[in-house]
């Protein structure tokens, strides 16, 4: 009898814990939670990573503070998305003219195994001179992606090589490091350039 009561309490306890877990899930991840913020990156000032640019300089999120930033992920073995994005960006920078010189433009590899500093230097050399190529150890690249809420994944190909799935958007930050907006992959110039101007203007507002 007594044993049975203990068992009963036990079942009730397990039930209560399960209920609490469910309520917790409901509030945090479930339908009862707040609207998801989506894939918005945190501010650059909240990020922490150490990489190397294509000229061998040590760089990090602090390198980007003080000027508006356009950043995106890719890899140099990418046949379609990355050269397209780099060409699009080169075109947007041409449109911006002198203003392009006022921003950081950073291409961050998700394939550091193949994209060494030298490889990045050769590759970015084919595009607009404002574009910087950043690479670094695998775990540092992972930290960058965390901060950006970006994802990447190595996918083996039939030929024994690999390709990468990755976030294809271009991220825009204000000079303060605050995230402004994203430009979708291959977004037309008439939408992309005003978005970049917004990031540039935010800098002016912040300064005055």
């Amino acid at each position: 009898m007594r044993r049975r009561a203990i068992l009963g309490y036990g079942v009730a306890g397990v039930g209560a814990v399960a209920l609490m877990l469910f309520v917790g899930w409901w509030q945090v991840d479930g339908a009862g939670g707040p609207e998801p913020v989506g894939q918005r990156p945190v501010a650059l000032t909240e990020m922490d990573f150490r990489l190397t640019d294509h000229e061998g300089n040590a760089v990090g999120p602090e390198t980007l503070i003080g000027r508006p930033t356009m950043a995106f992920f890719g890899f140099t073995y990418c046949p379609d998305v990355c050269p397209t994005t780099l060409s699009d960006i080169s075109g947007w920078l041409d449109d911006l003219g002198d203003e392009a010189g006022e921003m950081n433009v950073v291409f961050i590899t998700v394939d550091p195994e193949r994209d060494t500093v030298e490889t990045m230097a050769e590759y970015v050399g084919y595009f607009h001179p404002a574009i910087r190529g950043w690479t670094g150890p695998e775990e540092q690249i992972a930290r960058v992606a965390d901060g950006f809420h970006a994802t990447y994944e190595r996918v083996p190909t039939e030929s024994g090589d690999s390709t990468m799935n990755h976030s294809a958007s271009v991220f825009l930050f204000a000079a303060s490091g605050r995230f402004v907006t994203m430009i979708d992959y291959h977004e037309p110039r008439e939408f992309a350039v005003p978005k970049i101007r917004r990031a540039l203007e935010e800098e002016t507002e912040g300064a005055t």
């Binding site: 073995y77 780099l86 060409s87 030929s159 799935n165 990755h166």
Partner: protein, 155 residues
């Protein structure tokens, strides 16, 4: 009797004619335009070829394969961007060309991946890519190699 044989022969001729001629002609009704590829750095990276196909015939034609001497393998791939902005590539398989329609291979969509390059694609050069159709047709296409930063066949 003689008449009957003749009719039979004519029917056979028409049947064979009806089967072979228009089918063989299907892929001959395909026009190709705006053919280009980006130059590559070395041979270890894959290349992508783009073009526009127009089916001017009255029947659908299927594009079933690609061959080139410059790469070990040539495959149609399709780029996909999901709701989270993640890009993935997948083999496009056989591609149907509907009569009267254009099919555009362009950055961010369909492209022919050249894998295992035998030599780099050099800006200003041309390479040959053969398009293979389901009616047995083979269409050699001259691909103009543009710069690495090219955005299209003309810009």
């Amino acid at each position: 009797m003689k008449e009957k044989i003749l009719t039979g022969a004519l029917a056979a001729l028409l049947t064979f004619g009806g089967l072979s001629t228009p089918v063989a002609a299907d892929s001959q009704e395909i026009l190709v335009d705006d053919v280009w590829a980006r130059a590559t750095i070395g041979v270890s990276r894959p290349a992508a070829v783009y073009f526009t196909l127009r089916n001017t015939g009255g029947d659908a034609v299927k594009l079933i394969g690609f061959e080139t001497t410059i790469a070990k393998r040539a495959e149609a791939h399709r780029l996909k961007i999901d709701a989270n902005g993640i890009s993935t590539m997948e083999p496009a398989g056989e591609i149907l060309l509907r009569p009267g329609n254009d099919l555009v291979f362009e950055p961010g969509g369909l492209h022919i991946m050249l894998m295992g390059l035998q030599e780099p694609l050099v800006e200003g050069d041309s390479i040959q890519l053969d398009l293979l159709f389901d009616d047995g047709g083979r269409m050699p296409v001259n691909v103009r190699v543009r710069g690495i930063a090219a955005r299209g066949p003309r810009n």
